[in-house]
């Protein structure tokens, strides 16, 4: 592979403190290096262009049974976005549930080089990894579902945090997972009886624990294990007006958890828009963004992502079974439910966010409000919770809204008046800078995920670089269409030191790596745990304990991240 010099672009590398300086980036052997000799290198002229580290998406649904159920469910969605094969690429389909190949291509075309699959049911982990292996170019990791796992609930009930930690380490290892994902803790377990859990202090049936206990203990265990990322939490009561209170209560429940060495935060609250609703019903819905933002601004232990709504036809899919049934009831749309024995569940329902729908307009406003009202860009990240709020291909649109008040106003004027009345968005004048965009799309996400080599362009970083055709020295917020255009199709995307996208077209499709986390467990404890697990597996699972772990064959390009600074009793 030839060395590469990305020459003369405006570089935004917030982690290295570089804010729009014109400089050259040198790449060699898949890494950023001090300098390579120009005569042997491929020189990419980035003059007048924006250069950033490759994008890092902290929360997306790209692989596994849930998105695949979405694909299966929606031929009518695929049909409107066919993707023909080319010399370098496979054919496929796009839009809200893109095929795996197209997922990889389109992320790369937007300059993204790492994407996190946000929900992996352990028993379906093989499926996730098989799909990740068919998702080209980008680096990936998957977050293992813990919040409704039988063993999690059992150890929480028993108050056995050490066993819980051992279980977490074990499950991450056998599923090749990267982080601890919690979805509607307790709610999905109750959904196995067709019910939900009644908020943070409701009862999880059959275990007599509360979501508060589950979240708190998982957060403590997560930090004591020294996992690279905090718990990744989808709060209770998602999509229910008035839920901002649950969200803030949940954040506060982990306020006392001591973060692991080297960071301040202990919880990442996902797609916050869906959990920042105020009012008593969909009729009286209003924004709860300011209340959530107020708490977040005062509490450094919380990070968020937006879950921005896009006005389009999309496919909602979450591990939150009871919510999806509710949404099916609200819309009358077709509904897929998929319960996963002992550990999780999922639901899929197509949904159209409409500009003229007051609730949708408010939701659209809430996402942006959160991103604009949380002052520290290092703690709020750009997502659409793909494909829940909208397909990831609309990220450039979200960036335009963040960077241009005119973009927001123009959309607001086309939308239901409720967004003016029930959110404070119209009065918000903040406009993201290029540097802030780099923070919320790569630098901060890489940092909070614990990726040392990603999200920056310092020497030693992965040679993941995106070059966008927009001149930040000339760009003005009124030219927001330029942002959409430039960020939709990158001039160059370089992945691992290889040019994978040129002028918006995929030119090469290497298989990226899959990251997973290994946390050391005291051997005796692990043995004891395995004995317990094996006994319960025999009784309650339908697969044998031996067949549960994901074999190495499913990780041809794995990269193992070791948990640092674990604390055991």
């Amino acid at each position: 592979m030839k060395d590469i010099i990305v020459k003369g672009g405006y570089v935004y590398d917030p982690l290295s403190g570089v804010d729009g300086e014109r400089m050259d980036i040198h790449l060699s052997a898949g890494k950023v290096v001090e300098e390579v000799p120009e005569r042997d290198a491929k020189v990419i002229d980035a003059k007048g262009k924006t250069v950033m580290p490759g994008g890092v998406d902290i929360h997306s649904h790209i692989a596994g049974s849930k998105i695949n159920l979405g694909r299966l469910l929606r031929p009518e969605d695929h049909r409107k976005d066919p993707v023909p094969r080319s010399k370098h690429t496979r054919g496929g389909v796009g839009y809200s549930c893109p095929s795996t190949f197209v997922t990889g291509y389109r992320y790369a075309q937007m300059g993204y080089t790492s994407v996190m699959e946000a929900a992996m049911p352990p028993i379906g982990a093989r499926h996730v990894h098989e799909e990740l292996n068919d998702t080209p170019i980008i680096d990936k990791a998957a977050f293992t579902l813990f919040g409704n796992n039988y063993f999690t609930l059992k150890y929480v009930r028993e108050g056995d945090k050490e066993k819980l930690k051992a279980f977490m380490a074990w499950l991450l290892k056998v599923t090749k997972g990267y982080a601890v994902k919690i979805v509607n803790p307790g709610g999905v377990e109750n959904w196995k009886w067709g019910r939900n859990v009644d908020g943070l202090d409701g009862n999880v049936e059959g275990f007599d624990v509360t979501p508060r206990q589950v979240v708190t203990m998982l957060a403590e265990a997560n930090e004591e294990l020294g996992l690279p990322h905090t718990i990744h939490l989808h709060c209770n009561n998602l999509g229910i007006p008035g839920n901002w209170e649950t969200t803030v209560d949940t954040m506060d429940a982990v306020a006392g958890v001591k973060p692991t060495k080297g960071r301040k935060n202990t919880v990442h609250v996902v797609h916050c828009q869906f959990n920042a609703l105020d009012g008593d019903s969909w009729m009286t819905l209003k924004s709860g963004a300011s209340k959530v933002a107020k708490y977040v601004n005062a509490h450094p232990h919380v990070t968020l992502d937006m879950g921005q709504v896009i006005f389009t036809d999309t496919t909602t899919m979450t591990g939150d079974g009871p919510w999806q049934f509710r949404l099916h009831g609200l819309t009358g749309n077709k509904w897929v439910n998929s319960d996963v024995e002992m550990e999780a569940g999922a639901g899929v329902v197509p949904y159209t966010f409409k500009k003229n729908n007051p609730a949708n307009a408010i939701q659209w406003g809430i996402g942006l409000e959160i991103a604009l009202m949380v002052k520290d860009p290092w703690r709020v990240y750009m997502t659409t919770d793909h494909p829940n709020g909208g397909p990831f291909i609309y990220y450039p649109k979200v960036l335009a809204w963040l960077m241009s008040r005119k973009a927001r106003t123009d959309t607001m004027l086309e939308s239901n008046k409720a967004v003016m009345k029930k959110t404070s968005l119209a009065g918000n004048y903040r406009e993201y800078t290029f540097n802030e965009v780099a923070i919320v799309t790569r630098a901060a996400t890489a940092k909070v995920l614990g990726f040392k080599d990603k999200g920056h362009l310092g020497v030693g970083a992965d040679a993941d670089v995106s070059v966008y055709d927009v001149d930040p020295s000339k760009w003005r917020p009124s030219q927001y269409a330029e942002i959409e255009r430039a960020f939709r199709l990158a001039s160059y995307t370089i992945k691992g030191g290889e040019v994978v996208v040129k002028d918006g077209e995929v030119t090469s499709t290497p298989l990226g790596s899959t990251y997973w986390v290994k946390a050391e467990t005291p051997p005796e404890l692990e043995q004891e745990l395995v004995k317990e697990l094996e006994a319960d597996f025999k009784k309650y699972y339908t697969v044998s304990f031996r067949n549960y772990p994901v074999e190495d064959a499913y990780l041809p390009t794995q990269r193992v991240v070791k948990a640092q600074g674990g604390v055991w009793k």
Binding site: A63, S65, N68, R71, L72, L73, R74, P75, H78, R79, P82, V83, R85, K87, H88, T89, R90, G91, G92, V93, C97, P98, S99, T100, F101, I123, G124, R126, H127, E130, E131, D134, P136, W191, K192, W193, G194, G206, F325, H328, G329, K334, W335, V336, N337, S338, D339, V340, E341, M342, T509, K539, Y540, Y541, T542, V543, S544, R546, N547, A553
Partner: protein, 428 residues
């Protein structure tokens, strides 16, 4: 002698994973925990094997057979790739890639079994679960148009009927089993209640049940041969169960109504979720037909009946499904992988298959290999080759390689890869 434990059975959609297989001198000598069919599969896998690659019935070296196969697919205008339900997932992925490369149609056996289930899912959705929740919670189990006693021999024991679980400590005793069928079977005998439905009338009964669940009184004295009182009673039983599940089979998908029968069943189950927890799960036949749908879906967006002739995937059962393609005489060549359409397709369609060049990858002699132009012997997945298979409920499991295939015999995936290379693929 080697004993392999926790072996996954590559026969039916149950994908039992507790088998113990004894291997001696590279041959399977014994199987424990297996059902009769599974035992037959392991113990007889070496019988009636294809001896060597052939072209027009003449033995040729593998490369020649691959060349001939690649030529057929490259030169035809409308190649059909079919089968895939009895092999592992890498082979399925390669078959999709090959179909794309050849600009043809890729279809799998679900088009003649649970294709209608998928059509219904696409219309109205589906509410399903992995089998463990049935084992742990189901106090009402309904087999509708399915007969595990003959087709999924350990289903009732491992997952649905006898299985003991968290909230079903006494297994069979804690469950009420209903079997809905047009005839008595081993399954109806085992059930607490047998509901005899007239042939081709399942749709009416499902609709009546749903209406009853919604609280409507039926005017008809009986529906589909089932008295009104019994319909109401069954509806009530469903509403008051703690956790109910419907396992449906080809009795619904292969009789009049097809996908609409499933549409009705899905609707009934969705309706019941307003009252209690109710789910349904199709009884998938071939062990990896689930995988065929799953892989094809993640690669193309569509589960079967995918056409690549325009360079991107298009989907339309009834148009790009094998039966229809062959019935219209539209396919001008076929590649059959891990399937035996001659034994499973109506004769009228087989006659058309016999008119076109067919390439077949199989491990055994079948009626399909008998009428194929090119035949390439392959390893038996799950015995001689490893890979992933998806259980009827979507749980992926790893098939083992227990013995080496005969020398010169490769897995489906390897042979397909050779064909892809030969056709100039892998530019990506």
């Amino acid at each position: 002698m080697t004993v392999f434990t926790d072996v996954v059975c590559p026969f039916c959609g149950c994908l039992c994973d507790d088998l113990e297989v004894t291997v001696e001198d590279g041959h399977v000598k014994g199987v424990k925990n297996a059902c009769g069919i599974s035992r037959s599969k392991f113990l007889n896998h070496e019988k009636n094997r294809l001896e060597a690659p052939t072209v027009d019935g003449v033995e040729v070296p593998l490369e020649k057979a691959v060349d001939a196969a690649a030529d057929i697919l490259s030169t035809s205008m409308r190649p059909l790739v079919y089968g895939l339900s009895s092999t592992e997932c890498v082979a399925i992925a390669k078959a999709v890639e090959l179909a794309e490369l050849a600009g043809g149609v890729v279809d799998n056996t679900s088009s003649v079994c649970h294709g209608p289930t998928i059509l219904a899912l696409q219309q109205v959705g589906e509410s399903k679960t992995t089998l463990g929740e049935v084992k742990n919670r189901a106090d009402l189990v309904i087999f509708w148009g399915s007969n595990p006693s003959q087709a999924h021999l350990r289903h009732i024991i491992r997952y649905s009927g006898m299985a003991k679980g968290r909230f079903i400590p006494n297994g069979r005793k804690d469950r009420y089993i209903v079997a809905v069928d047009i005839r008595k079977t081993g399954t109806t005998r085992l059930a607490d209640e047998y509901v005899k439905v007239e042939p081709n009338r399942d749709f009416e009964l499902l609709q009546a049940l749903r209406a009853a669940v919604r609280g409507h009184e039926l005017l008809a004295e009986s529906v589909a041969g089932v008295p009104r009182e019994k319909v109401t009673e069954l509806a009530e039983r469903m509403k008051t169960a703690k956790f109910g599940i419907v396992f449906f089979g080809l009795g619904l998908t292969q009789s009049e109504g097809r996908h609409m029968n499933i549409d009705a069943a899905v609707g009934l189950v969705a309706e019941l979720n307003n009252h209690t927890k109710f789910l349904l799960t199709p009884m998938r036949g071939h062990y990896n037909v689930g995988g065929a749908n799953t892989v094809t879906t993640w690669q193309t967006g569509y589960p079967y009946a995918v056409d690549f002739s325009r360079g991107y995937p298009r989907y339309n059962p009834g148009e790009y499904t094998s039966i229809d393609m062959l019935a219209r005489g539209e396919a001008d060549s076929a590649l059959v992988i891990a399937s035996d359409p001659v034994s499973t397709f109506p004769a009228g369609v087989v006659r058309n298959l016999a008119k076109i060049p067919v390439v077949t990858l199989d491990h055994k002699v079948t009626p399909t290999t008998m009428l194929s132009k090119v035949v390439i012997p392959v390893a038996t997945a799950g015995v001689e080759a490893e890979g992933t298979a998806y259980r009827m409920d979507g749980v992926p499991l790893r098939l083992s390689k227990l013995v080496e295939p005969r020398e010169g015999v490769h897995s489906d995936a390897e042979v397909l890869e050779m064909m892809i290379k030969r056709m100039g693929g892998r530019a990506y």
